[in-house]
């Protein structure tokens, strides 16, 4: 789209410039812009550290990884250009497809409860009369707790023979579940860990959105005889749509990059960084880490990383289309 816009813009400049009555020559305009930059050099210098650091440690590695994705490199020897070979291998790699499936399943299993609970929590806090700051802090604390420490704790909670979760199930007369070694159990543990960490974060965002909804709407609804549940679905949810869209996009971006949770949870199980038994907890980013840093396959790892990027883009676009269309429909 951007590329398509360029020629017309350039054409406009060419045709308009000679006809303009008081033209400011392009050169002069450029010079004045340079002068403005020169005048404000301390400000530019003040913001330069961020951009320098970003360029060196952010942008440069990203571009280098794109270059790497077309090469074969073990980190020590020389690089060989292999064209699209890495991506072709990826298409034939059953483990990559499994990691993609795992990631999507874990994302769905974590995002839906996270956002649903967050919305409910936010409306509860919003209607609370006392201790509101306490609730806000309490709900946000999980988000800033070390995820590594929590993964270790969850590993203990969900352990088969001596975990609290199984002890609870046992006392209810239910059987033990192999949470950490069965394909579905592993995904449940990872998803619950993500839910635990991100519910509060999303609740705070929803809370900000809720406070922007005028109270008159609720009062009017009450006058019309709507109960709290009716006004939740008829006022709160539709008016929060842009905020919900934002949280869905953020959850997609972070959910597609799930890494720490399976890495720590299944750390002790034998092939390192392979997502444990039957690769049930192997996510795309964990597979990237495994291929890159355990197997020293930097080119292949870069190809996986860029595939993750593509998957994220695709899902963000799908989310966007779905929710944006809903908004248009709601607007009509």
């Amino acid at each position: 789209m951007i590329r398509a816009a360029e020629p017309t813009e350039r054409a406009a400049v060419v045709t308009v410039a000679p006809q303009a009555t008081r033209p400011l020559p392009a050169q002069a305009r450029r010079r004045s812009r340079l002068r403005r930059i020169a005048e404000h050099w301390p400000q530019y210098a003040a913001i330069s550290p961020f951009f320098t650091v970003f360029l060196v440690f952010g942008l440069a590695p990203v571009i280098f990884s794109l270059y790497l994705a077309f090469h074969e490199w073990d980190g020590l020897g020389s690089m060989h250009y292999v064209g699209l070979e890495q991506f072709r291998r990826l298409a034939d790699d059953p483990l990559f497809w499994q990691s993609l499936r795992n990631t999507l399943v874990i994302w769905a299993m974590s995002t839906v409860p996270t956002l649903a609970i967050a919305l409910v929590l936010a409306s509860l806090i919003n209607s609370a009369k006392r201790l509101t700051s306490f609730y806000r802090v309490a709900v946000f604390v999980p988000n800033i707790t070390s995820i590594v420490a929590m993964a270790i704790l969850f590993g203990a909670l969900f352990s088969t023979n001596f975990g609290l979760v199984n002890a609870l199930l046992h006392s209810l007369g239910l059987g033990r579940v192999h949470w950490l070694t069965s394909p579905w159990g592993m995904k449940v543990v990872i998803a619950s860990l993500i839910t635990w960490q991100w519910t509060g974060y999303n609740a705070i965002i929803y809370l900000a959105g809720l406070q922007a909804i005028p109270t008159e709407l609720y009062e009017a609804a009450k006058v019309d005889g709507a109960g709290p549940i009716r006004s939740f679905f008829s006022i709160t949810v539709p008016l929060l749509r842009p905020v919900i869209l934002f949280t869905v996009v953020v959850s997609t971006v972070t959910g597609m990059q799930t890494f720490t949770e399976p890495q720590v949870l299944f750390d002790a199980q034998l092939p390192p960084n392979m997502g444990g038994s039957g690769q049930g907890g192997l996510t795309m980013v964990l597979y990237f880490y495994h291929q890159t840093f355990d197997n020293n396959r930097y080119g292949y790892g870069a190809a996986i990383a860029w595939s993750v990027f593509l998957v994220v883009i695709v899902f963000v676009l799908i989310n966007w289309r779905l929710l944006a269309r809903g908004e248009r429909a709601a607007g009509r």
Binding site: P42, A45, A46, D74, G75, L76, G77, R89, D92, D93, P94, L95, G155, A156, S159, T160, N161, F162, G163, H178, L180, T181, S182, P183, A268, Q269, L270, P271, M274, G275, G276, S277, G278, Q279, G280, F293, D294, N295, N296, R297, Y300
Partner: protein, 425 residues
């Protein structure tokens, strides 16, 4: 004094620039004038006391040893890729050594520095692990991990099994005998398992094999008889119901070791510290015997001299001094590094009894085990090709059908082998 905002900014920027310049200048002058010998190792990889005495022994070397935390191999690779600040001597873990072989040219061939003269003092199989297919020696043996059977003598006694290490060694010398004992143990004591999990049995039987997953001609052999045997050994135990299916090293494993429901574990000499860490209250109740199926090696590492080393001859002298038979005895006492020099096994440091094992002299088990570890060719790509087998076996433990798990493991391993450029039939 009144400072305008602009002046303040300028002063700040100048200060920052000066600091940056100073750091850069400091770095470069440091690298140029510093003739010290830099050695990298990970915590527990070498004995710090031996390193201190090495510094005194070779004052001219100005030996500077650094413990590198985190992912050691990754930091070493990054430094190698940058070609700056590369250490003169570096540790390389046993599981990583083969992956450095394709880039052996980045290291000094230790044979050209005179390693051949010392070969007779070191274990033959360990020595060969540091040499590439083309005969370039990049790794010099530090320590090894000879295996043994750790078991709770009190629990074995309760179940009517032999308790004395010599009897256990002879009566449970084959996997079949060992599994028979497991059946008896489970019959006598409910919920008590002799075998921890399937992946660990598979790994051990593979460790006892002279062939691994890839042969010297870069051909994938992971679907052949020796791998099938290791797989079916693990399956035999599973079918007998004597496998706990608890992943080794997990929270459940810790609990099982502590409460006696996992009264045995096969592991390297260093695994003793995992057991004593998980179950400190069981001190004195454990013993070590020869493990079923013959000795294997798990872990153990190497020292190497990168090409960037300023004075490779001096580095080699320091390296071989650190790893001499006498100093390996000190390292065993201080850091529990099991020596790669058989002469050390007869030194007083190793003949002491271990209170965790009821005063047993564990060298009586680990010494003979160390000298009989089979020599096997390990390909640089072995780790990538072997991984699917372990993941699938763990899946079998949680209920997957063994036959389809085997097929999945082999097909995944073949994909990995093809991607690594190996021949797959």
């Amino acid at each position: 004094m009144d400072l305008s905002r602009r002046q303040l900014l300028q002063a700040g920027l100048l200060g920052a620039a000066a600091t940056a310049l100073g750091t850069v200048a400091g770095c470069s002058s440091d690298a140029a004038s510093d003739s010290s010998l830099k050695l990298w190792y990970w915590s527990g990889g070498l004995d710090p006391k031996v390193l201190t005495s090495a510094g005194k022994q070779f004052p001219k070397s100005h030996l500077k040893s650094s413990v590198i935390g985190g992912d050691f191999k990754q930091k070493l690779l990054t430094t190698f890729a940058g070609r700056k600040f590369v250490p003169d001597i570096t540790g390389i873990k046993g599981e990583d050594i083969a992956s450095f072989f394709p880039d052996a040219s980045r290291f000094h061939d230790l044979k050209s520095l005179g390693a051949d003269k010392l070969q007779s003092q070191y274990l033959d199989w360990k020595w060969k692990q540091g040499i590439t297919k083309d005969g370039v020696m990049i790794g010099f043996p530090i320590d090894i991990g000879p295996t043994g059977l750790f078991y709770r003598a009190d629990v074995f006694g309760k179940a009517g099994l032999p308790t004395d290490p010599v009897t256990v060694s002879s009566q449970m010398s084959t996997w079949d005998d060992y599994f028979k004992a497991g059946v008896e143990l489970k019959k006598a004591l409910s919920n008590t398992y002799l075998v921890v999990d399937s992946p660990s049995v598979f790994g051990l039987v593979m460790g006892q094999s002279t062939k691994q997953f890839v042969d010297e001609n870069d051909t994938f052999i992971g679907d052949q008889e020796h791998v099938r045997t290791a797989w079916s050994t693990a399956m035999t135990a599973l079918k007998l119901g004597i496998t706990s299916k608890i992943p080794d090293g997990s929270a459940d494993w810790n609990a099982g070791v502590a409460n006696g429901t996992l009264p045995a574990d096969i592991g390297a000499a260093w695994h003793a510290s995992d057991i004593s860490g998980a179950a400190p209250k069981t001190t004195g109740k454990w013993r070590v015997a020869a493990n079923p199926g013959g000795p294997a090696d798990i872990g153990g590492s190497f020292l190497a001299i990168p090409k960037e080393a300023g004075d490779p001859e001096l580095a080699f002298k320091v390296l071989t001094w650190i790893l001499s038979a006498d100093n390996q005895a000190t390292a065993f006492t201080d850091a529990a590094l099991f020596p790669s020099t058989p002469a050390t096994y007869r030194m007083p440091a190793m003949l002491k009894g271990d209170p965790f094992f009821g005063g047993q002299k564990t060298i009586d088990v680990f010494g003979p085990s160390a000298e009989k570890v089979p020599v096997a060719y390990v390909s640089p790509f072995d780790a990538q090709v072997r991984a699917p087998f372990f993941a699938e076996l763990a899946d079998v433990d949680s209920g997957k059908d063994p036959a389809s798990a085997w097929n999945d493991a082999v097909s995944q391993a073949k994909v990995a082998a093809k991607q690594a450029g190996l021949k797959v039939s």
